[in-house]
């Protein structure tokens, strides 16, 4: 169930993910993400609504930033390798923010049956252009051996 870009032998504990730098957040991306995801909360679209709700201005869907984080893993390891990904939304992402996703390998485990893919645990985070963490999280990916 994977399309290997990186094999289990290619990463060790401490290996760092190539950073994924996303373009600055624009309103149109939040509108596209609303349509694509079905999350039409006006707090991501309507500055008047967001101000009235005490949030100052619109901000990005947390799930959009989580999509970036998941992409950072699949860009590195390959599509279909993610077994688990979990995040905490630590700070709001605003219009104009540049989100950079980073991560590193914290554990590598052989498959239980000895024959399947190795499981690689990652610590992940995303930061804005000021270096503030907007997401912290972890993932587990399944990587096959070169064989």
């Amino acid at each position: 169930m994977q399309y290997a870009k990186v094999y289990a032998e290619d990463v060790q504990v401490g290996s760092e993910m190539p950073p994924l730098v996303k373009p600055p957040i624009e309103q149109i991306q939040l509108t596209r993400y609303a349509g694509a995801s079905g999350d039409f909360n006006p707090i991501h679209q309507d500055a008047t609504f967001a101000k009235a709700a005490g949030m100052g201005d619109v901000f990005a869907h947390g799930m959009l930033s989580m999509g970036f984080v998941a992409q950072s893993v699949t860009d590195w390891f390959g599509v279909g390798t993610v077994r688990k990904v979990g995040v905490r939304f630590a700070a709001l992402v605003r219009l104009g923010d540049v989100v950079t996703c980073r991560g590193k390998v914290v554990a590598k485990r052989p498959s239980k049956d000895g024959d399947g893919p190795s499981l690689v645990d990652l610590e992940l985070w995303a930061e804005n252009q000021k270096g503030e963490k907007v997401i912290t999280g972890k993932a587990t990916a399944a990587l096959i051996s070169r064989g």
Binding site: A52, Q71, V73, V87, F89
Partner: protein, 151 residues
């Protein structure tokens, strides 16, 4: 004066619902994130790939919504206005690829509700878990989300 929420929603299971995954929705979702992998977007490339077709990105199951079990229903059950909520945490576990043309069954329940003092005042944390199964009754994905309510 903090608002009160209806904590009796804890443990509530919503009516199971089916979703059919459309090829175009997978592509629209990947493009909205700006993830342009051909294994999500290009039918021909994906046909020659490991699954013989495109698959969905890891966070795609967040689109598995139903009017009878969505955040709007949860907010009505809790007695909370949409302007008060934030997404606190989210997790996906994947067991099988999510493919276009497949129909999945989603079971969604509220697993926990608790209140805590936050930096900017009292907050409630509402945890929901959705289990996604396929036509073979295999679990394809499980998602767990925490909605934060500013009380």
């Amino acid at each position: 004066m903090p608002i009160q929420i209806n904590t009796s929603v804890k443990g509530k299971e919503y009516a199971p619902y089916r979703v059919s995954v459309e090829r175009g929705k997978i592509k629209e979702f990947a493009r909205a994130i700006g993830d342009l992998s051909p294994l999500y977007l290009d039918d021909a490339v994906a046909a020659a790939g490991p699954w013989g077709d495109i698959i969905a990105p890891p966070t795609f199951p967040i689109t598995f919504r139903d009017e009878g079990a969505d955040t709007g229903v949860l907010l009505r059950d809790l007695g909370v206005d949409i302007g008060r909520i934030l997404h606190g945490e989210q997790e996906f576990e994947h067991f099988k690829p999510i493919r276009p043309g497949q129909t999945y069954l989603c079971r969604n329940r509220v697993t926990d509700i608790y209140e805590k003092a936050g930096k900017s005042g009292p907050m409630a944390f509402v945890i929901r878990e959705t289990t996604v199964t396929d036509a073979d009754n295999d679990i394809v994905a499980v998602m767990r989300g925490t909605t934060v309510v500013r009380l």
